[in-house]
């Protein structure tokens, strides 16, 4: 029977079980963290399911991708959003053509040349520009381009406002990618006697390119859904208008907003259809960004 006494350790154990209260608190905290994440997924899934469910009828209807709303009555289930897709893509493309070179050059300035006061101010202003509400950007273009310089409302004015919204995104993502290029590459190039500008153009930029391209695609995707600039700077047109410099032009957000005041069920169908179309286009750009990133990095 001596074995029973030996079962008891002579010394108290060094590690004791964690107290019940602490264990409980720990478990509750873990649960709360999982819940927070689940809560974030609810609106995402909800929005996507609602838009897909209510929009797919319109999207698969004949002529949705190839016709405009020209001559379509409010209560008619007819026509398409071809004119609005053109507007959305054209406005974003013009904005990209202006914002990307400007943004990349600004990022090169910040990473490669920027020292001293101006660089500090520029970094600060990029942050401020990123926070400028889209309606303020639109008002600025309105007061400069339309009110002061007396130009008409046009898709070009919208593109200018989109440039302001795109610039900080392009600068930030390019800056990040340029910073990732190892200094050894630059030094190796300098050691071969290559001047600085050529090193940037031929060595640094190609190395950073995959990340920069996907960053730009995301920047384009972000401005495509902007509604405030199109409300202020261009009128809605139910027919196709290819002219960026003149006249009204539809875009998907503008079409959605315009059809919201249409009480007919056909209008509601168009609202959800256009929303789904917009989300599909943005999803395509996100997908492209991912593919570009993966393809170009693997070739290296």
């Amino acid at each position: 029977m001596t074995a029973t006494t030996l079962d008891q350790p002579i010394k108290a154990p060094a590690f004791r079980q964690i107290g019940l209260a602490r264990r409980l608190r720990n478990n509750i905290a873990t649960l709360v963290m999982w819940l927070c994440f689940a809560i974030a997924l609810v609106p995402l899934a909800w929005v996507l399911i609602v838009v897909a469910g209510k929009g797919y009828h319109a999207v698969i209807s004949s002529g949705w991708w190839s016709k405009s709303q020209f001559g379509v009555l409010p209560e008619q289930y007819a026509g398409g959003v071809y004119h609005a897709i053109y507007g959305t893509i054209a406005q974003a493309a013009v904005a990209a053509v202006i914002a990307i070179p400007l943004g990349v050059m600004a990022a090169i300035y910040l990473v490669e040349y920027g020292r001293g006061r101006l660089a500090k101010v520029t970094t600060f202003m990029v942050d401020i520009l990123a926070g400028v509400p889209s309606i303020v950007a639109a008002l600025f273009v309105f007061s400069l381009w339309i009110s002061t310089l007396k130009f008409q409302q046009s898709a070009l004015a919208v593109a200018f406002a989109l440039v302001l919204l795109m610039l900080p995104v392009v600068v930030r993502s390019s800056e990040e990618m340029l910073k990732l290029v190892p200094d050894e590459l630059r030094e190796a190039s300098y050691a071969l006697g290559i001047p600085r500008w050529k090193t940037i153009v031929r060595v640094v930029l190609p190395t950073a390119l995959p990340g920069m391209i996907s960053g730009m695609l995301l920047a384009i995707a972000r401005v495509m859904g902007e509604t405030a600039p199109v409300l202020v700077l261009v009128g809605y047109s139910s027919s196709i208008n290819f002219n960026l410099f003149q006249g009204n032009m539809a875009s998907l957000p503008l079409l959605i907003y315009q059809q919201l005041s249409n009480p007919e069920p056909a209008g509601v169908a168009r609202v959800w259809g256009a929303s789904l179309t917009l989300i599909l286009i943005i999803a395509l750009l996100y997908l492209a960004a991912g593919v570009v990133n993966k393809l170009l990095t693997r070739n290296r």
Binding site: R22, L35, P133, V136, L139, R196, T227
Partner: protein
């Protein structure tokens, strides 16, 4: 062209060091390595040319600097032009700009506009969004950095970032046509049980319609969740490993580790992220415009009021921007919004100490 003379001081001293350092024996092999660019490379090993051409370097550097300066100029121009267009209207204003709840711009000769109500609705909706989104956003960031299985952390964070990809007009539609009716019972519950508090007393529109500041705040909370999460996540990831391990060695549970090391370390990032989220919520236009109902009476700081925020007021009148003076009234409101977001974003940057970008 002569390449050597274009090299900056650091590059030059580097290359001359090598030549002096007795590496001349290897010099001839260098062009062979770079045979792809033989023309440039062959010239680069020749001794320094007397003809110096700095122009491409200078041009490129000035272009880059000009691009940087453009961004600074853009902000200055935004402030300048909004102010230029707003000042005449403020001069012609017959009501107090800061304290009047009116916004009457139909008669250009008798403008009466004030930002009291706009300010109130903007602050209330953005404030509610912040109150909802900050705890959840921080929780998600903690989950993604500390709790989620390592292999799933990346796809999970991409899911949260997808919330930022949904256009704001779609959130507006969802809030107005879908979410609002589901929030009505919640709003009624608060109104019935906490109605004695000014925030939850009955407002100037009917709760049954759903288009209250409360609904707008919930929609805004969803929209600013990704930015708060991503900024917080970035700083939580920076928590020194040693801090965490020290806490673990003392026998701390996971929650205690988070509370004692991760949260204090990331506090500045959480504040910065919240400020950036606040900036977004203050300036959000179309979602709020779609969700909020117009009210006949001025509001009294209740979450169940309707009305306009700065941004939605401007957007609602956008189609009537033809006469200079009434338009200037909206531009004045836009200038106030610009200043508001400028201050909030600048504070976010100060809080982050420059180590985070959102």
């Amino acid at each position: 062209m002569t390449v050597h003379d274009d090299v900056t001081a650091a590059g030059q001293s580097d290359s001359t060091d090598r030549r002096v350092g007795g590496d001349t024996a290897q010099m001839p092999s260098e062009p062979a390595i770079d045979s792809a660019e033989s023309a440039d490379a062959a010239e680069s090993v020749k001794p320094i040319h007397p003809k110096v051409s700095n122009s491409p370097e200078v041009i490129f550097r000035s272009l880059a600097t000009a691009a940087g300066a453009t961004i600074v100029a853009a902000i200055a121009l935004i402030a300048l032009f909004l102010l230029i267009k707003a000042v005449p209207s403020i001069g012609a204003n017959h009501a107090n700009f800061f304290t009047s709840p009116q916004f009457d711009t139909n008669d250009a000769g008798n403008l009466k506009f004030g930002i009291r109500d706009l300010f109130m609705v903007t602050v209330m909706s953005a404030g509610l969004a912040l109150v909802i989104a900050v705890p959840i956003g921080v929780g998600i960031a903690l989950f993604l950095t500390q709790y989620a299985p390592k292999a799933l952390a990346r796809p999970f964070s991409m899911l949260v970032d997808l919330l930022a990809a949904v256009p704001s007009i779609v959130f507006g539609l969802w809030g107005f046509l879908v979410l609002a009716q589901h929030l009505v019972p919640v709003e009624k519950f608060f109104n019935d049980n906490l109605g004695w508090l000014f925030l939850f007393k009955s407002g100037n529109i009917s709760i049954d319609g759903g288009g209250t500041i409360f609904t707008a705040g919930v929609v805004l909370a969803v929209m600013i969740l990704p930015i708060i999460t991503s900024v917080s996540r970035e700083v939580f990831n920076l928590t020194p490993r040693a801090h965490i391990e020290a806490a673990q060695a003392l026998g701390a549970t996971k929650w205690e580790v988070v509370r004692m090391t991760v949260l204090p370390y990331g506090r500045s990032g959480v504040i910065a992220g919240s400020m950036l989220g606040l900036g977004r919520a203050l300036g959000e236009t179309i979602a709020v415009l779609i969700v909020l109902r117009t009210a006949q009476q001025p509001g009294h700081w209740s979450l169940f009021d309707g009305g306009y925020t700065f941004a939605s007021k401007i957007a609602s009148a956008a189609s009537e921007f033809s006469q200079a003076l009434p338009t200037g009234a909206y531009i004045a409101a836009g200038f106030v919004l610009f200043v508001l977001t400028f201050v909030v974003n600048a504070l976010a940057r100060v809080a982050a100490g420059g180590k985070v970008n959102g």
